[in-house]
Each structure stands twice: as C-alpha cells, then as structure tokens.
C-alpha cells in the first residue's frame, strides 16, 4: 500500500509526515520527527519506555499505528518542559534522585504526568499502580515513587522520605 501524508500534532506543533500503514507512532516520532526521547526497549508494549500521551492519556507508541494518531493531541517527553523551565515533575525527578541510566525516564515521566493531571497529590500506592506498566531496572522504583508523589507537594527533607513510612 502506498504511503500517505498525514498531519501529526506533537507537543502543540503540526508536522506533516509521510507514513506507511505499518509505521508505528514510535517509529515516526523517532525516525522522522527526531523526538528520540521516547525509547524502544521491548517493542511489544510491556516495558513502558515508549509511553506518550494521546489526548492526555498514556499510551504505548510502539503499539499504536501512526495512522491512528492522526487528529489527536500527542505529547512526548520533549513537550513536558516550558522552554528551558522544567515541569515540577521533571524537577522533582532530578531532586529526588529518581534518574539513573535515564532510559526508562521519559516513559516514567509520561505515565506519571498523566496521573498528576488528574490527581496532584497521589499517595504512594496510587503512584505505584500508575507506573506499574513501566519497568525501571536501576532505581528499584522508590525514588521515582517519591518524586511523583512530591512533584506538587514538596516537603522539607524530602530526599529522606525513603526512610519514613
């Protein structure tokens, strides 16, 4: 089948792209539009590294056809910051030591951001559930969970919250 031109709206900007029906959204984002923040780790929707938002909801870009993403607001990790100003969630990840190798980080941020858009002060169990589709192999999740829980709710001595119940 012929490739067709569609418009993808990514991070509030329109991009015309020429896609084949079997191109996934992830392939188009990474290979054509250079949004390489979204990562491929498993390619079958179980690791969460490619999580992006479609109309505000977290989805797997590796299991989404690019054609199905037409006329939908797509947000990637590159769209989280406001210019040079990091979002509170991004800043919280840095402050809490929630980043190690960083490969799962974009997907984690997108899953967490979707949660925070509905619930600014989630408890630990809610955060753990919201990121249960994202694998992190480095951190053991604790610092990520705290980074999300405290993104809009910073408190003093936050980095020690690991030690508290």
């Amino acid at each position: 089948m012929e490739k067709i031109t569609i418009t993808l709206n990514v991070n509030n900007e329109s991009h015309e792209v020429l896609v084949a029906p079997n191109d996934t959204l992830l392939e188009v984002l990474r290979d054509q539009l250079d949004f390489t923040g979204s990562k491929e780790s498993c390619g079958e929707g179980v690791c969460g590294s490619c999580t992006v938002h479609m109309d505000g909801k977290p989805v797997r870009a590796c299991l989404t056809l690019a054609l199905e993403a037409e006329n939908i607001e797509i947000k990637t990790v590159e769209g989280l910051a406001n210019g040079d100003e990091l979002s509170p969630l991004q800043q919280s990840f840095i402050d809490h030591g929630a980043v190690q190798c960083g490969f799962c980080t974009p997907g984690m941020l997108m899953s967490a951001d979707a949660l925070l858009n509905n619930n600014r002060q989630p408890d630990e169990a809610t955060v753990r559930k919201a990121i249960s589709g994202n694998i992190c192999r480095c951190t053991g999740y604790a610092k990520i969970v705290h980074a999300v829980a405290h993104a809009h709710n910073p408190h003093q001595g936050c980095c020690d919250c690991n030690h508290k119940e």
Binding site: M1, P21, N22, G48, C62, L63, I131, S132
Partner: protein
C-alpha cells in the same frame, strides 16, 4: 520490531465497517486497542492483508442500563468498565477482571472489552519471535503438525488467558455478532470453539458489537480471582469467575467458570450444581465445588503457561474457593 506490511481500513461508521468485513472476510483483522493484535503481527504470527481500525466507531463505546439487561458497547475501554458504578455494584466479577488486565497505563485506556474477549489463545511455545519459530517444525497453531506443549499432541492446546470472558460467562453474558445483512445474539460461552487453532466461532464477516448482561433475580453476587506472579502485566496462570444467586441465605444458582486452563473458559457444570440449596456459609460445600472444578479443569490443561501443570491445577482449587468465598461474603 517492525510490523509486516498491510493495508489500513478506517470505516466511518458501523455500516461501512460491516461492508468492509463482508468484502475482505478472513483477510482483515480488526484493531481496537492493538495490544494483542500488533504484538502478534510483530512476531509475524499474523500477517493480515488488511487491518481495520475501530477508531471512528465511537457509537460502540457505551454502558447502558435497561430494565432487564445491562449492555456494553464493544469498544468500551477497560478503564470505563472499572469506573462504572453499575458494573462495580451489579457485576463485580467483571469490574475485578477488567482491573486485573495487564497494567493500568498500558491496557486500560486503549484496551477494549471486545478486544479482550477476542484475544487469541496463547502458548509459551507459540507466542515467540519468528526467529525462534523458524528454527524448528511449525506447531499446530503455526500451521504445522506438532505440539510442543504436549507430547504426541494431535491438535493445538494453546490456552485462552483472557480475564474478562470467565467473569462474563459466570454472569451469563450474551454477545451480539453483527454483519452486513443482520445480526445474531449468542451466549458468550458459545463464542468459544474449544479449538486452539480457531478459538472463536465468530465468522470472518462478523463484528462483535455488544455484550449483554442479564439482570439477576434474587440476591446475586459475583467475584473474579486470578493467579499471576506479579500484580501487573502477567497473564493469569489460572483464574475463576463465579456468580452466586441466593435467597434467604440459601444458594439458588451458582455458576463457576475457570479460565486460563484450557482452550476456552470452562463453565464447571457439575461443580456449580453441587452448590444448589447450600448455605452461603457452607465452606465445606465451597471446598467440594472447588475440588470438582479443579479435577475437571485439570484434564484440559497442558504445560504451556510457564509454571508447572500440577501447580496450576492446585491453584485452580484456591482461586475457585477464594472467588466463592468472596461472592458469598465470607472471605477471610
């Protein structure tokens, strides 16, 4: 991992969708959430000529409460089912099943009820990369004559590991299958063929459009239990959907369905019948029923879901018992 080539169809409405199905028949696969289909396509287990998107068929996304039934549109997402008070209260097992599918952020917003029901059977020897399968003789489901899960297996023993169907069958669900010239309504249990190669009786030109749940008389409670290693992502290695219909603390009707043990969800007729007229607090009766369910389900299962067969059988007892206890309101 790249997808194989195909042609993309995006009907504007149901009529157009049914037309497309009528003209392309078995050459077309329907993509709803994509979480099952696209993984199979990436592994080249399926290479359909056409993929038809449900994207525009927003009319198929609903949960409607009627006098005698509750109807659910085929495109309704798992998240909507989990969020529905009507389902949480009246059809607890279904809500519990939906909640346990995959992981919240992956399946729940994209995954649909019909996609979940119609997910293909699985086998650890079949759901593998093309490279893995290329180095050996094809198995039954791959178009060959060998079974890797069962020595001398003369047919495909792949396992149906969907969560929602066992719950729905316990709740006596029916499904509506639509096609160009009409539609038919069948019991959900009849949608399953018990053939691992062709697990569903849906015709290539039919589209599952609606799920119908009857309203139970008397006091009706349901529950769904499943066993998996982790609390997210994993497919169940055994599961149980049950419904208990009672009046004055006596069981009038019980339905026990075991999932993930065979090529289809198993409605345990004998085990269910033993519970008639038993008290809601009769633990021994529940144990007996669970034991029968375990014995019966055990005859169907093969070693193809990652843990030992014996363990899955033993756990079937535990899951059925837990589900019965929960539905009866005596869970510890």
């Amino acid at each position: 991992m790249r997808l194989p080539r195909f042609e993309y169809l995006e009907p504007d409405d149901l009529t157009q969708a049914l037309d497309m199905l009528a003209s392309h028949k078995e050459d077309v696969k329907i993509i709803a959430g994509g979480t099952d289909l696209l993984v199979r396509m990436k592994n080249q287990l399926l290479t359909p000529a056409f993929v038809m998107s449900m994207k525009q068929l927003s009319g198929l996304s609903y949960i409607k409460n009627h006098d005698d039934t509750l109807t659910i549109g085929a495109k309704t997402t798992l998240a909507d089912i989990v969020d529905s008070d009507d389902i949480q209260e009246g059809y607890t097992a279904l809500a519990q099943a939906a909640e346990r599918v995959g992981a919240e952020t992956i399946q729940h917003h994209r995954g649909t009820i019909s996609g979940n029901i119609l997910q293909d059977t699985r086998c650890i020897h079949y759901n593998q990369s093309r490279f893995h399968r290329s180095g050996r003789q094809p198995c039954h489901k791959d178009g060959g004559k060998i079974c890797y899960a069962r020595d001398e297996g003369d047919r495909c023993y792949s396992t149906y590991q969907g969560d929602m169907a066992p719950a729905l069958i316990a709740l006596e669900a029916k499904v509506v299958l639509s096609k160009k010239d009409g539609k038919r309504t069948i019991n959900l249990s009849d949608l399953f063929t018990s053939d691992g190669f062709h697990p569903f009786s849906i015709e290539p030109d039919e589209l599952l459009t609606e799920i119908i749940l009857p309203k139970q008389k008397n006091n009706s409670k349901s529950a769904y239990q499943r066993l998996s290693y982790r609390s997210a992502i994993d497919y169940p290695i055994t599961s149980a959907g049950v419904m208990i219909n009672s009046k004055a603390e006596k069981i009038k009707k019980a339905r026990i369905v075991v999932g993930s043990m065979s090529r289809a969800p198993l409605f345990m007729v004998k085990a269910s019948e033993t519970l008639a007229e038993k008290s809601l607090t009769d633990i021994d009766a529940f144990k007996e029923a669970a034991g029968i369910a375990m014995d019966n389900a055990g005859t169907f299962a093969v070693h193809n879901a990652g843990s030992t067969l014996e363990y899955r059988c033993d756990m079937t007892f535990v899951m059925v018992l837990k589900a019965l206890e929960q539905a009866a309101g005596i869970e510890k």
